[in-house]
Assembly symmetry: C2
Homo-oligomer: 354 residues x 2
DNA sequence: CTGTTAGCGCTTTCAC
DNA sequence: GTGAAAGCGCTAACAG
């Protein structure tokens, strides 16, 4: 048996079955209003030929492609792959296919990818913008004839609906919790970042420590393990060492934990640690790591649902201008109190992993 | 400004620019053999209209879609998202788009998804078969007119090229290492599984312990944390408790670690632990976890490269039968010796995370 | 119930 | 250099 056969077409099926093309068309679209005998014969030919309708031809007729695009920085990042999974599920439930493209947070790649999806005539688009302020992206998105939903980060001053976690409040929640524990010198460890989410978190941290009459200790020099280690070493040996660390990002939390462990600094004894974003082994490490948890799946699900809602709003067959009402969906975050902040959960840690 | 405009077509561009459709076609395909003045005018119209060629129409003309499909169990699994990322990179380098669909290891969903990709006329397909023995899938794949590459798991008795890690040798490497440490009662902890990879690993374990004249201690009852805890508790309190555990899967390793920690069993003092598949915090846990590491990125990259190689083999425009030469690419795995198996790495653990 | 036919948007000869 | 026209595979009137 050889592979690489020519791809059969509808008219070939029609010819072999001795019927017209419209009959075959009816068969593959449900088989209504077709004589049972004819139907069976056509179906047999379809199977024997391994015929599958060419979507391109349908699309050309102006139908929905039943395809949606997702533009994210990376597929390997648990936050985005979690979102992607939730979005896929909704897409699948709506009989649509999801095309995921990645940007590595590069604005050029980002616009290129939006363009690729446009060529593919996706019915809708979900995007986590590399830079919320990117004017070129805003214009590209605004000019699109399909619904767009932003996740994780909004598109500044545009009518694009966005679904995000409340990063400001999340950081506030974290900082306030550390304050409640009695820590007075809370350091915020973060990368110098143009990312909307990080800026919001920094801002939430600053407002909260300042409101408590304490001074903000912000270190934005963190990039990788080495820089984290350096930042922690420097601050600990300074005249005014922190008694708690709030890290704004998953990887930073882990680097910080490793560095503290490396220097044999007791957690939370000498320095408490509270991170942003939960991760699988946060409860397994010793001490277990307290974090702010984002509703990842919910972000993905709501974004996808909002997108489908917008798609159905548009009258079938005739696309027309809809009032550009801006929608912002903000989701709340949750504090997962474990040991590293000074809390001692009652339940055995392992129970969390069941 | 209103969204939801009608999508402009090539002939609209032609009309506004006062040229024929073929001229516009030439412009969007590089602009060769077009008068510079005309070219500039047409380009201006294209920009002002925001025209983007409709891929469907091109595809209909019989061209490559420049689209590839990837069928995997889950996108949230680090192994598969790692593969996906590598495949995406190769696809992008070859100017192609990757469509990822997930099956949750369900054979029905799997065939459905292959069909969806077929409708989309993907140029090639990469798949991690839910079940290597699935005859229906084998037939579906065999009947495809496009190249197919299997990853992680082969498609039994088919001509489908596959790229996999050598799971048998990986397990052998792991077991032998534990034997070299002097452990005599090595338990293999695993899920009762129909998965090819798991069966291979079990087999590698068994052959190795038996070759050493020891008896195999296989527990296939592991499903989640609870069952892992139960399995470990039972075996430890038996008359013949294990002195080492080889777990065949990432999540099982973590469950086992948590359970041992829960029972305050010293690792590796009383029971050593060696897992399959590396994970981010394996070196950060105390003790750090030794594992067998698979070349994830390489699997993805080689699969994608092999796929593109096959695609280019087929003479352009005329698809014909190629000799069904089966290719199997087997990649070797690597032992990452950390503390849990009894080794004490010289380097400070943290250095690994830089 | 079923066949005929006119395009959907694009590329590509083939003339001019 | 440029345009007219045919046709890719399919669907949707419109006749029969």
């Amino acid at each position: 048996m050889s592979r690489k056969k020519a791809i059969p077409t509808l008219s070939e099926v029609a010819k072999r079955a001795g019927v017209g093309t419209s009959t075959v068309s009816r068969v593959i679209n449900g088989g209504h209003r077709v004589d049972p005998v004819t139907l069976a014969r056509v179906r047999r030919v379809i199977d024997s030929l391994g015929y599958v309708p060419n979507l391109a031809a349908r699309i050309l007729k102006g139908y929905r492609t039943r395809t949606m695009g997702l533009v994210i920085p990376s597929i390997a990042d648990p936050f985005f792959s979690g979102c992607a999974e939730a979005i896929q599920a909704v897409a699948h439930a709506n009989d649509s296919l999801l095309i995921v493209v990645t940007t590595q947070n590069d604005p050029r790649t980002e616009i290129e990818n939006v363009d690729v999806l446009r060529r593919h005539r996706v019915d809708g688009l979900i995007i986590a913008p590399a830079n919320s302020q990117n004017e070129a992206l805003r214009q590209t998105l605004e000019a699109l004839s399909i619904p767009v939903v932003a996740i994780d980060r909004p598109v500044a001053s545009s009518s694009v609906t966005s679904v995000l976690a409340n990063n400001f409040c999340g950081a506030k929640l974290a900082t306030q919790h550390l304050l409640d524990h009695g820590y007075k010198r809370i350091m915020c460890l973060t990368g110098e970042s143009t990312l909307y989410t990080i800026r919001e978190r920094i801002s939430g941290y600053q407002k909260t420590v300042e409101a408590a009459g304490l001074k903000s200790m912000l270190d934005t020099s963190v990039k990788d393990y080495k820089s984290t280690e350096y930042a922690i070493e420097t601050s600990l040996s300074s005249s005014d060492p922190p008694d708690a660390i709030f890290s704004t990002k998953n990887s930073t939390t882990i680097y910080a934990f490793e560095a503290l462990q490396h220097f044999k600094v007791p957690i939370p004894g000498r320095v408490a640690l509270l991170g942003y974003d939960d991760f699988e082994l946060a409860s397994t490490l010793r001490p277990s790591i307290s974090v702010i948890e984002q509703p990842i799946e919910e972000i993905g699900r709501l974004a996808a649902e909002s997108l489908f809602a917008q798609m159905l709003e548009i009258p079938q067959g005739k696309r027309r201008a809809t009032p550009a009402r801006r929608r912002q969906i903000q989701l709340e975050t949750r504090l997962v109190a474990r040991s590293s902040c000074g809390c001692s959960p009652r339940l055995p840690e392992a129970a969390e992993s069941q």
